[in-house]
């Protein structure tokens, strides 16, 4: 039924490789099948101007796609002189998701920036980014604790994300590019490790969808995210 033979509920093989690069305080390569994203978490002293003197920290994210991560080459954003709307939208989503996992006041006046750079794209780059960025952030937090920058663990929950959609009339999980292009409805769900929703974004690409369909999709997402949470924890042990 699905191009790669998966069942409707089945996510692609997920690999989480920690310490993938040398310099970042947290560095994770996450793979959802052929989608590969490098998530580097950097720790810097200080906070953005709007937070100065408020005694809390900040977590933010930037997202990029290598020009040939995709089937055809897309122009380099640095060379075009601006980040596109899709890029900004995704990096805002990643940032919000990570901040929901953290008690910012326990972070001190420090900033964690997670760079999510897509090495190879095959659908689900934003959900892989969130899932990998959370692991990289945990490594960065551990680095801060070891080096004495912070005393208390600011982490409140793990966060992970999955894309779900209605493909040939049926709800499926973790769409790869081919399915994504053909799906009627595309939904991204970000959840805590207790199955609460941090963010849900659903779009009717073709036919509008019913509230019942929405529910089926979110339930499916909850199931897959639980799997991702297990994989995150496994990687961190």
């Amino acid at each position: 039924m699905r191009p790669d033979g998966r069942t409707a509920q089945q996510i692609r093989p997920v690999t989480i490789t920690r310490n993938y690069t040398r310099h970042a305080e947290g560095s994770v390569l996450i793979e959802f099948g052929d989608t590969k994203v490098l998530c580097n978490a950097s720790v810097e002293k200080g906070v953005p101007r709007f937070l100065k003197g408020k005694g809390q920290g900040w977590v933010t994210a930037e997202y990029g796609m290598l020009p040939r991560a995709t089937h055809t080459r897309s122009g380099r954003e640095a060379s075009r002189g601006k980040q596109g709307g899709r890029t900004l939208e995704i990096q805002r989503l990643i940032g919000r998701s990570l901040r929901a996992a953290i008690d910012l006041s326990a972070l001190g006046e420090n900033t964690i920036t997670v760079d999510c750079d897509v090495i190879q794209a095959d659908g689900g780059t934003r959900t892989a980014s969130i899932t990998g960025a959370c692991v990289a952030m945990v490594d960065a937090i551990n680095h801060m604790r070891k080096s004495g920058m912070i005393k208390v663990n600011p982490l409140q929950t793990m966060v992970a994300a999955i894309s779900v959609g209605i493909y040939k009339g049926e709800p499926i999980s973790d769409l790869q590019y081919e399915e994504d292009s053909a799906a009627d409805t595309d939904m991204n769900v970000v959840m805590t490790d207790s199955g609460k929703i941090i963010e849900v974004q659903g779009t009717a690409e073709g036919e509008p969808f019913s509230i019942d369909e929405m529910n089926a999709l979110v339930e499916l997402a909850r199931h897959s995210i639980r799997e991702l949470n297990d994989l995150q924890k496994e990687a961190l042990n």
Copy 2:
């Protein structure tokens, strides 16, 4: 309970003024309480490059906020030299919502651009924009039919949008600025006139929310959007 005395389900007074300016093919001022958005629909021959020769049309949107639409003045995007992430995100959402209402192949190789400019902001500017932009688009379509540019009506459904959220523990509809700032969860829902979902975007600003809470919010949105559909139809008669 609510700062302006509304019940949880009650939307603000909505006013839809057609033909608000003189030049645009469709020109609507929409007011959701103190939120006022001018929606101007422009008809232009031709389509963007990626659609040339495909025999279909295009609908797109741009969004802007006058610098002093808000409590404190925010910098003019034209003078800063770029549109912010929030602006791009909103105008992409408006564009997708309008395209879901239209059979683009019935539009010929023509483009409708709807400019949504916020004159005064008090929460819900993106949902007011979508609701008003749809009426302006209908006027632009009528103009195209009268002038013979198109033969068939490409409109397939009206679209409208509302923000819902969890405020002091309770789901409420059509949040004004004060409620929006204090809400735990903020959700924007775009629907067809038959109650199907075109887009749903929910964000946990404070506590993550449960699937049940999500359902309550979407049901509430469905109720409010039905009211907005009636107001749209009334305005168009």
Copy 3:
């Protein structure tokens, strides 16, 4: 003789609506016939860097045109990434005109920014902007005095502006778009309420003009500006 039946000296109906929006310290919608400009004056503590520590204030202006204020849609400057030469020229003119009305040293180290956004254009947008911006600035000053930010009234004169031109061989006042496009000479005059010139800018669009013609135009402008001063004062009472 004139397309809308006015006499050569006659200006269009002028409407000045104060408190047009809710947040700005001064908010004026000014209409010169079908030309409609929203002038929002914002008060902010502090001055630009080049004035820091000099014990004086600053008044500045920004000008914008909604994309569909005109007959055909023009690209949004925020999306093109820069303000055009015409925009910069007009906002510099508005700023200079307003500063000529004020004793900046009586303003304290505060800044008034007046945003002039054209909702609908039919010729004379820059002169309507100046005339409306002055009223909005007076409201902002009154707000500063009431709130105790300043003790002394820094206002030294009202300023108003009109466009005059030679159309079909005859000097006329307050050109609408159709006249403006066909005029040989186009002149914008900014004056104090005692009939002194703050700024005069005359351009031969077709035939160069003589010093005598220039004089006739400035005299005509003086007459019209006196009318505008009366309307400003009426609006402020």
Copy 4:
């Protein structure tokens, strides 16, 4: 009375050097005292898009100031990534002035671009630019006629420009930087060689000025421009 001992009516020594650089079709170094502007006129086949197929030509100008043309170094516009408002305003003025001297329909579908680059500034850079650019344009036209690009001479008049102002209560001509900084009123006048006005721009830097003062200034400008016309003609022989 004046810092350099000139009478009120007296302009600075003016030098016009043709063929100053080798590549441009017209290349003029013009000096108004210590103000030195290099005016290079380039001839190119074709016209801007908005004129294509209309059977007429175009004349345009660009203006720049070397970073250390002034007393203190100002940032290079190319490095800041945009041209300032003053630059755009001046180059629009130069372009309009040159087009007023030409019958564009006699130019064929060709474009003359005049680059005015200020090598050294001491007041009056825009008036020196216009006066020198006109001579460079004449050389470019002569080049076009010799090479057979055009048959008929499109030149209708010479144009020249001067700044005048009220300094210590008295109208003076051709203000140098020191006078310009201290003047109450600053006016730039562009005229044809028959003494007709192409453009007049007067600004009250300090006190507003009367219509009588305006007249005195324009008369003074007419006198000086006549001198400049003679110098232009002399240079062209």
Copy 5:
């Protein structure tokens, strides 16, 4: 003597992994010790405007560094809105080097773009880029030949590059970051597989260097580049 115990002539372990990503026509991960660069070669029909209709092809390169490829995070160029001078300099160098290896007229009107993105930096990113990009280009050429886009092999030579420098008074090859920061002289050499020079760029970071020292460095480079050529050929078999 050297921080990692290498002899003066010894280059770091070099790894060349072909087919590193899935979509690019040529995809190579090259590692010079801890420096890791992903080189993706993309084949596109058509050539830049300045080459249209000339019957030849084009080879160009773009270079980027992931924000956390370095010890401390550097700002993302896409987000700052422009590529820095160093980036432009390097990508121009890579492009020139690759074009020197190719007979552009045998490429048809096609373009090969090689994206060199630094995943991890430890000195020598530009020389690793050139060495890896050449292998990726060969794979892209093979793809073009297999798919029938070109008949003849346009490759004329392999190119490779190495950095050499004077460190603690002695010429050494393939400087890592720590050596690079402390070196007196830094030279990058690009050569063909017959030991001819395509590009040489030497800079005195500390003391200026003599012609004899320059010669010693270039000889050393020739030796190392020969090793790199062997590794390239091995990888391609």
Copy 6:
């Protein structure tokens, strides 16, 4: 043999005019034949942020080309909104070369910025810029010493630069534009007055070159640079 009859070793007539403009602390017009570059050195108190508090000074350069310095007009970088890669590359080279001539710690926390603006181009603009900029920098240093800003002379050596190349099979010095376009190899060499290399950049435009050819070119450059050093010293006396 050479288009202008020079011998292979012969440089073009060089003219160095000091005090070319009035405002800059050092102002030099340098001419290498028809190549003319204005080099203005500006002295400013303070240093860039990355040097604050380190007790040393900074020397930097900016490079520009007037739009019609070349055979055909090239677009103004200020108007295109960014400096091209070639411009950035050249101004970085000039800056590095000047800094190699100076003991920055003897400069105090002051900055010298040298603007090199090409008035007319005929090959060798970057080498003329470096040679002229050094003289302008010496004048700026003398100004700083006279005004008491610095006590000790920070100058350690004069620097000068020449382009050499292989043209019709033979090494020649100081290529003019016509030779430059036809040369197989193009090399720019920057040296101290004792014949040590500060920077060498050689590019094979056509055929790759051998180490022997490189040596012949650098020897030739040394000879020419010695001549330039004499001309610099002569100009400074």
